[in-house]
Symmetry: C2
Subunit: 234 residues, 2 copies
């Protein structure tokens, strides 16, 4: 491990910004870390909100990372077939101390061949396809399997990052960050999971994301076929 | 209220980005909203992390907002004496449907004269000075007093935004957003409040923020004096 600890968070078009900005806030509160926001170029990257994110480092110029983290969002569909990004992750993953994701970022790790035989979690709407990329889906807020640490959907990124900080540094460091971020969550409703959301809310959301789920299933299917072809070539 | 609902989130140097990016993610998941990230210029704004945020709209060109939201961070000290920003908030506040803040953004609303006689909350480390700016400090995750809606520190922004969406639209809309963001928080530790953090974690954090607290107290004191002078001029 280098000192300071080098953390790289991927940013990409149509990402869900909170998947990244939650962990970023946690990591930024830890002393002795060096954080990179990574993309192919340094041009601002559009997200699923009006906020465009400025990468700090290109994947080409990125030093070896201690922690690589892939956030999620609809933009992951394109990454699942993006050779430059998948090669970058595979290369970094060979020496990184922790290989991590939030939300549907787990699918990208899977497409890069980095979750083969590892337990992992993703956004609840993507759990059904995670296994197609070699991972063993486990429904939990944060899943640790050896040096793979994956978080569930979007807001799970905060729980994920605090867990990772405790794992890498120590519990008191993570608790200090939690105190600073006043992380005593108190959701006004209990609708954050398909098991607790009112049936009509769940049905409405599922109807709205139907087309996106179909596009994702196709992207995962193509990525799985490429993984299988690569395996049979060896 | 305009259609779509116009929401403006202030961005400013040395802000705590999650104070803004949490609510931004919630608001972005609601149909029929128009979101502005506001600052004096459109140049990227540095935050307390490596991420620089691109404003979308200058305060000069900003249309009348339905919701104005001021996030927090160490950069609020400078805003407490920033005539351009305080005037902008006072002007927008005269007609906005909701005047809101996250974290120490409440101090900025107070310095703009917008919390006089209103119950409000801020980051737990700033509750002791909130009353100096005319607000009535109430310790809660989210505080609603007429059309003022304030959230506690940093991560409270997510609870704040879901609460506000339910208030403006309806509960089912907020629940749909909560489901999409998989907001079933599960902090790995119970250290998010000074009442639950281990004593040594609390003491360590308080020692680290001592200088910042003193700078904030001075900035609040100057803002309070200006408010008093302005009141006696009338």
């Amino acid at each position: 491990m280098t000192t300071p600890l080098r953390i790289g968070l991927l940013v990409f078009p149509d990402m869900t910004q909170l998947d990244m900005t939650g962990p970023l806030q946690v990591f930024s509160a830890v002393p002795d870390v060096e954080i990179h926001l990574l993309w192919k170029t340094l041009e601002p990257v559009r997200t699923d909100s009006v906020m465009r994110i400025n990468p700090t480092t290109t994947i080409e110029s990125c030093p070896q990372l201690d922690v690589i983290c892939v956030p999620g969002g609809y933009g992951t569909d394109a990454l699942l077939g993006d050779r430059d990004i998948l090669d970058f992750l595979t290369r970094q993953g060979a020496s990184a101390r922790y290989i991590t994701s939030v939300c549907t970022g787990a699918l990208v790790l899977g497409a890069a061949g980095l979750l083969d035989g590892y337990e992992a979690v993703t956004h609840w709407t993507a759990m059904d396809v995670l296994g197609d990329l070699g991972a063993i889906p486990v429904q939990d807020r944060v899943v640790i399997d050896r040096n793979r640490v994956t978080g569930g959907g979007v807001t799970a990124g905060i729980d994920f990052a605090l867990t990772l900080v405790a794992e890498i540094f120590d519990r008191a460091t993570a608790e200090g960050v939690q105190l600073r971020l006043e992380y005593v969550p108190h959701p006004p409703f209990d609708a954050g999971s398909p098991h607790t959301a009112p049936p009509e809310v769940l049905a409405g959301y599922q109807a709205r994301i139907g087309p996106a789920k179909r596009r994702r299933a196709e992207a995962v299917s193509r990525a799985a076929a490429r993984l299988a072809a690569a395996a049979s070539d060896q």
